[in-house]
């Protein structure tokens, strides 16, 4: 059931994302204790676990918002170079960090839209100023993306005018506008009112069906079971068990995972 990884991902078939033996400490607290994961093109991987199990930190280590103390990361075959500085692990090149982040779309729990810009401005910001693509082209593409996530009529509104679900869909459009290789979702529905969760999950499901490679930290069991093709259950900074949803949810998983989903069923 555990995913095997080849000895050198650079010579093997290229994964969209490959993470090996990530470790991360905050002070004396060891949050990640050796996590490895690979995502092929089109994989939708749900990462489950109770709070404090290190799910979000793991996701943030992948796009370098946190820097792992140990371990290696490849994005679309490109190895992220690290150096030791004063005994701490650091990215070797800030240019590479920017480039890697541009290839990874991140969707945050609290949306994090830029409050002083309209929705359309939020979506074209990256393509125009980071990728330096022609503005008119970016606007046309942004409008198509906003259409796709169902908030085209809100494109000239500011984030504060929108409901949480609309803001999160705008944030997804903003991430997609960068044409990312992999999308990372950090509890995208956890800050939403229950009746707004569905509209965001529908957008995510459509993305999965289009073949987008996705890592989703979530508490939505139905999404994990129905949409993802792999479930990773994290516990105390390690991957407790992983597998395809049918096996995982039919009871072939670890006792800890069975207890975890038992809590959700109430």
């Amino acid at each position: 059931m555990v995913h095997e990884h080849s000895s050198d991902p650079s010579t093997a078939t290229v994964n969209r994302l490959s993470v090996r033996n990530i470790r991360k400490k905050f002070g004396s607290l060891e949050v990640l204790r050796g996590i490895s994961l690979e995502a092929d093109d089109g994989d939708v991987i749900s990462i489950l676990g109770s709070s404090g199990s290190g799910k979000s930190t793991f996701l943030r280590c992948i796009n370098l918002l946190e820097i792992a103390d140990e371990g290696e990361i490849w994005v679309d075959g490109e190895h992220i170079n690290m150096v030791k500085k004063h005994g701490k692990n650091m990215p070797a090149s800030s240019k590479q960090v920017d480039h890697i982040r541009a290839e990874l779309g991140m969707v945050f729990q609290s949306f994090n839209l830029w409050s002083h810009m309209t929705i359309l401005q939020n979506v074209i910001e990256g393509p125009v100023h980071v990728l330096k693509r022609p503005r008119a082209e970016c606007i046309a593409e942004a409008e198509a993306l906003l259409e796709k996530v169902g908030i085209a009529e809100k494109r000239h509104a500011y984030p504060a005018h929108l409901s949480g679900g609309q803001q999160q869909r705008a944030a997804i459009a903003r991430a997609l506008a960068m044409r990312p290789k992999v999308m990372l979702f950090d509890e995208p529905t956890s800050a939403l009112d229950p009746e707004l969760v569905g509209e965001v999950l529908r957008v995510m499901r459509a993305l999965a069906e289009e073949g987008m490679t996705m890592l989703v930290v979530t508490h939505e069991m139905n999404f994990a079971r129905d949409v993802s093709n792999r479930v990773v259950f994290m516990r105390e900074g390690q991957i407790d068990c992983t597998g395809a949803p049918p096996e995982m949810f039919s009871g072939e998983s670890s006792p800890a995972f069975r207890q975890f989903i038992g809590n959700f069923r109430g």
């Binding site: 796009n63 918002l65 800030s94 960090v97 920017d98 480039h99 890697i100 982040r101 541009a102 990874l104 991140m106 945050f108 609290s110 994090n112 839209l113 830029w114 409050s115 002083h116 810009m117 910001e125 990256g126 100023h129 980071v130 509104a157 500011y158 984030p159 504060a160 005018h161 944030a171 903003r174 991430a175 960068m178």
Partner: protein, 233 residues
Amino acid sequence: MDFAFIFQTMKTLLAAVPMTLGLFFLSVSSGGLLALLIVWMRVAKNPILSNFAKGYIFVFRGSPLLIQMFLVFYGLGQFGFIRYSFLWPFLREPFVCAVLSLALCTAGYSAEIFRGGLRAVPAREIEAARSIGMSGFLLVRRIIGPIAFRHALPAYSTEIVMMVKSTALASLVTVWEVTGVAQRLISQTYRTMEVFLCAAVIYLVLNFLILQAMALLEYRLSHHRRAAVSRLP
């Protein structure tokens, strides 16, 4: 009331308004640029830079502007290396000294105002920018700067109004701006009340116009907040 005298006084004082505005615009613009440099040093991780900025802000906020101006105007000439340098033709001009000391002083205050604006930028909006690959100057120019400026604007408009009034101190280093001309008129006519009232009216009108402009700027930069409030029933 002697309207003829007031009219004549107004005319004389208005002729000095360009000098007051010149002091104001030059010192606010160069002081604003200097403030950006100071605040950049103030928030830098390098302790030498941040301590230098702290010291600068302490000195220029903590001592009277009038004394700073006297030190620049009367003090600099005592140093031979300044008196014989290529800068001396500029530094012996009262106008240059007044602009220099006004700019140095407002830079100290403005740097702290801008720092307050920076601290109000939500960390998660910065994180969102980093997550799409923004960093360095691009991040400052597109995200941090515009948000910080909006937060700093109300306090900064107060500083600008203070600067209009501070230009009056330049009269004490022989710059013939509105207050200086008013004092000269008083020494000629001994009519303190009328002359100073006229001068006060001029400052009030200038500040009224400047405050209107700042309010307009603030209005145009705050669509995102205003609209959010108007949604409430």
